[in-house]
Symmetry: C2
Subunit: 379 residues, 2 copies
Amino acid sequence: MTTTPSQAPEHGTLSYEQSGVNYDLIDPLKVAAQRAAAATGIHLAAHGFSEVTASRGESAYVVDVGPFYLASIVECLGSKALVADEMHRLTGKSYYDAIAQDTIAMAINDLITVGATPLVVQAYWAAGGSDWFADAQRAQALVAGWKHACDRCGVAWGGGETPALAGIVESGRIDLAASCTGLINPKERLSVGDRLAPGDAIVLLASSGIHANGLSLARKLVERLPQGYLTPIEPGVSELTYGDALLAPTVLYSPVTEALYRAGVTPHYCANITGHGWRKLLRHPALHTYRIHTVPDVPPVLSFMQRHARQDDREAYSTLNMGAGFALFVPADQAERTVATALEQGVRAWVAGHVETGPKRLLIEPLGIEFGDDALQLR
Amino acid sequence: MTTTPSQAPEHGTLSYEQSGVNYDLIDPLKVAAQRAAAATGIHLAAHGFSEVTASRGESAYVVDVGPFYLASIVECLGSKALVADEMHRLTGKSYYDAIAQDTIAMAINDLITVGATPLVVQAYWAAGGSDWFADAQRAQALVAGWKHACDRCGVAWGGGETPALAGIVESGRIDLAASCTGLINPKERLSVGDRLAPGDAIVLLASSGIHANGLSLARKLVERLPQGYLTPIEPGVSELTYGDALLAPTVLYSPVTEALYRAGVTPHYCANITGHGWRKLLRHPALHTYRIHTVPDVPPVLSFMQRHARQDDREAYSTLNMGAGFALFVPADQAERTVATALEQGVRAWVAGHVETGPKRLLIEPLGIEFGDDALQLR
């Protein structure tokens, strides 16, 4: 990792694809794995259960176990730990409480998209060697942040794994992941399948910044910044540095979805806006048009990234969350209550648009952007 | 990784502690994490559920959700992938189908100890970069082995994560883990808590070799072998090499525990014999004496390791599974049925001893070994 400008490349547009992850290499394996996985759903019949086939390709896998649905997931933090490590080197602060929350958010914010109440989180902390754990301050920050996120979401931390994987994980690094299990109870809360319909309102929940997707791009961008991670993102306005802003922890959205249930709002569909940015609004397999009339405020760190990566709005909204961390698709007459309920949980929200009959596309009208059916290939 | 004898150290006893994992560094974090985790169990009450507190410190975490118990876990393969990679370099064969099974076995064999039927497995395959996935033969072997293990255990493969983690995972390596969720149904199958009692029989299920624990020691040992991983372990008897023998996949025990339920046998307790070898027989918190009168045949690869590591029986049985991959504690009058049921599933088994009143200790009578209460500190 470098923060010196001497190694900066020419300052053209920096896209996500240029930042290091080559999906062309990963995708054939993913497709093979998805096919093999889909063929195993039939095993549940021997136990008297069945899969919710519509959950294949969604953010969490759902099984019908009779009185309720069971949802489960495993999720990885990704490369945000590298930013935390570099900022620790530069500032002496530990950011592991923040990235612990990010890791749990990656799992929980996906799990709740299917309508599940998260119940149990398991920790997967694979270090590059036993000596990683010798830094007590960092280790305690990780534990404290993990516990705090569990408290915030009302989930039980069941346990986990803390392997020392010298030779597999890089020395001095840690691979953070979380698994999460929850229940969809009552079963009417299931939000995959056919509930999404024209006329539904699209409510967007505010993000706190970059969350935990787009970090490869964020790290690549550091090469362009004279002060690297210590560059102020709003000079004259605040002293907040790029690194500190990147490390704002991901918003945990399960307090909102649980409060919505208590308020009598059952979303027809949800999308966790992670990789692929706003293209995730096209996630549902049905052929609808999604028309956005209001876009949230863009967090300063994302405006900063867009500017320095020289991305136009189309590229930025197709890569980053641009202020919207989670999308709820609710009946139109429940849209305002959804916004109010989110606010009660401390999360800003906007009635941003609606679903309508028409070809599969996303129209972000204030920005004049259209994404078509081919913009998102996740399944 | 080296296979040349020139770098071999003096050939004294090689213990697990010498092989590279320093638990003194990891344990303070583990204790802090366990304490923090235990404090989160109360959150389940808000959802109308409660934890099975006796499952804290067991191999899987259990929640009472009303009509049944929910069990979940995340488990890591560990360093066995390094052996697979080196053997691929030496032989050109891919061993990723085998280590896929190992990874699933790590999760499933732990989950079933609490009495759970495994229902859903999630894959966590974190590679050192996108290019890991470019080796189609290896990637397809991983998918095929994973699918085959799911088929064998009757679990649904729900999905997973395939991140490319350059800078965190070493280039060319992969960090393999699995999460698993299951149900204890009916609730009488729960096998943690107070069911274990003096008079219970101890039935041991055969291992296939080293399984996926003790690999750090196995890799360290390679330095002592003139032909490294290609050293025949039974010269004159077979051509099986040390590397091939190490890579025999872990036995999946859930077909046995499911068959036992169908046969009317409900174990009082189970122990998955992984790290710490036979000391895992002391896992239950109650104060009982465990008397072993019969020891299983030792797989040739483990005899070979014991000989070359110059371990006495006490050291070997406290580190490796020595032929026993899983222990079932069953009512004495169901012991023979347990053995017969395991055999029907293709797994050899032995009525190896019994539980009796007395100080907490394990007596392996045929070998004159005794492990006291202080031999296993896992909780």
